[in-house]
């Protein structure tokens, strides 16, 4: 959030959000593909601070997209705008070509923080069932069809084994899978996941990523997953939305994870390094000023990603 590129960088933006949007018409390939989600020039200003600046990107059916940015880059705000929980100061969000409504059954959401006491008498299957009709009034009437659908969703996320356990007693990865089933059961076209890997160890995280990739390809559900690190997502991520200080660059990973594009986005010279199949974004920065920019500082070279 401290990343505030000077105005001088703005017009030069070759691949940043604003420029990409202006040059959108020629990109016939992206215009032709059916967009589940279109974010068009979204800006958000909260108590005088610009959280999002002219963010534009689109997500096609069944695409796996990573929303990458450090803490405070605006990921959560962007999600809240897409979900209709936060009004944007400018721009608009289209879901399947239509302005999104407050409760949009086409969007499934998996929140980041999820603390449930082990004492809460809610089984995994109850939580999945609430995904089907939790917004309705009254008490759910049990039916064979409902039960079968819940079982199917639990199977889709490999959660049959703990279907009858209290949600609060499950591990982080298990809860994450139950929440994914909760989001999937309403048959959304787009699944939003807010930092699902943040509280997971590496193997659990890989399990979740593999599961999501499978869901995207098998069920044709587009996935937008936010993360502060992109490497765990690189094997499955088809497209990327890279947020820095509220500004975004988007496209395929090859289009975005490039020295010139990211340097423009960060507003300073950064290098994209490929090392053993991993990507590192580093900046040779002055240690005095480096702390003002995103990411931790390691020696004179700052590893941003």
């Amino acid at each position: 959030m401290n990343e505030t590129p000077s105005a001088a960088h703005e017009p030069a933006g070759a691949q940043t959000a604003s420029a990409a949007r202006e040059s959108a018409p020629p990109q016939t390939a992206s215009a032709a593909r059916e967009e589940v989600l279109s974010v068009e020039g979204v800006s958000v200003r909260l108590s005088g601070r610009e959280i999002l600046k002219d963010v534009s990107f689109g997500i096609g059916a069944g695409e796996f997209t990573g929303l990458i940015g450090s803490n405070g880059a605006g990921k959560t705000t962007l999600f809240r705008v897409i979900l209709g929980l936060q009004a944007s100061t400018a721009g608009r969000v289209l879901v399947a070509g239509r302005p999104r409504s407050r409760r949009n059954p086409l969007i499934g959401y998996v929140p980041q923080k999820f603390l449930l006491d082990p004492d809460v008498p809610l089984r995994a299957r109850d939580l999945v069932g609430l995904g089907l009709d939790g917004h309705r009034f009254g008490i759910a009437r049990p039916s064979r069809a409902r039960r079968e659908l819940i079982d199917e969703m639990l199977a889709a996320v490999d959660a049959e084994a703990f279907a009858d356990a209290r949600v609060g007693t499950l591990s982080g990865g298990e809860q994450q899978r139950v929440l994914i089933a909760h989001a999937l059961i309403s048959r959304p076209k787009l699944l939003l996941l807010d930092e699902p890997l943040a509280n997971l160890d590496l193997p659990s995280g890989q399990e979740v990523v593999a599961l999501l990739a499978r869901i995207a390809s098998e069920q044709g559900i587009a996935i937008l997953i936010s993360a502060h690190e992109m490497n765990p997502l690189l094997p499955v991520m088809q497209r990327i939305v890279y947020l820095v200080g509220g500004r975004a660059a988007s496209g395929t990973t090859e289009e975005v994870i490039r020295t010139d594009v990211l340097s423009e986005l960060y507003g300073r010279q950064v290098e994209v390094l490929h090392i053993h199949g991993r990507v590192l974004v580093v900046a040779g920065d002055d240690p005095e000023t480096a702390h003002q920019h995103a990411g931790p500082l390691t020696a004179a070279v700052q590893i941003i990603q």
């Binding site: 979900l83 929980l85 407050r102 409760r103 949009n104 969007i107 959401y109 929140p111 923080k113 999820f114 449930l116 004492d119 809460v120 008498p121 809610l122 089984r123 109850d126 939580l127 609430l130 009709d133 939790g134 917004h135 309705r136 009034f137 009254g138 008490i139 759910a140 084994a161 703990f162 009858d164 356990a165 209290r166 949600v167 007693t169 499950l170 591990s171 298990e174 929440l179 909760h182």
Partner: protein, 307 residues
Amino acid sequence: MNRFLAPVFAPGFFESSTVHTALIVGTLVAIVAGTVGVFTVLRGQSFAGEALGDIGTTGGSGAFLVGVGLLWGFLIFSIAAAAAMELIGIQRPRGRDLATGIVLGAALGLAALFLYFDTTTTGATITILFGSLSALASSTIPLVILLSAIVLGIAATLYRPLLLGSVSAELAAARGIPVRAVGALYLLALAIAVALASQSIGTILSTALVVGPAAAALRLTRRPVTAILTAVLIGIGATWLGIVLAYDSYSWPPVGHGWSVSFFVVTIVFVAYLLSGVPRQWRTRGRERAAGGAGSTIGEPRAARER
């Protein structure tokens, strides 16, 4: 038959109209308190429930001064306090305790004043604080039925949104649930339930009947509906047993002076809560074995799950 029951039910128990009224009101209150209590514990609003009960003291003492039924006093002040809490910001998790505490303090100051005016009537103070189940007029029954129906109606209508909201307010909001309106309506139901419980066992003990059976039930069950039913059964059991024991206690020392129903009800609820922890240990172990959940040191179930 009567020979076996005689030691339990003292003579005249089934003929007493006081007992009839107490049983009817006590049962309705237990049903309402158990139902609302489960959501109260789930939503972590036990403190709000306690505060609404305490604030009922103000209403009760005010009603006594003015000369209207205690239940009206409990009701009006609990609902007004719930509205104040809602306005101050009980819907924000961090503002919750603050909103409750501020409203509680203000209202209890008023209660101090009202009770101060009632200098000659310590009996009223005792009734307000510790309940009057054994001294209820049967004319209160219709109002109790009406209020119970309102609360149960709210609980049944909001059942699923409330459950989802207690899991994650964010998740509920993303599903288009009007989280704040649902929370406010629930608070209204809680205020009425607490007013009813105050009528039954007194303002400062009312939380025991709302939160106690629910807390015990939550330790015993895995499903929300079962938890509500269990809480209701515990509440009814405690109320009935309390009424029977209080009736019997007239033949206990001190002679000619019965024991308080509220004492028995609250004590039984407390014992039920303690007992509910007994099967829990055993059940937790069983569940972990079945699910291979976190904390299980046995390697086999985890492998079985991953297969």
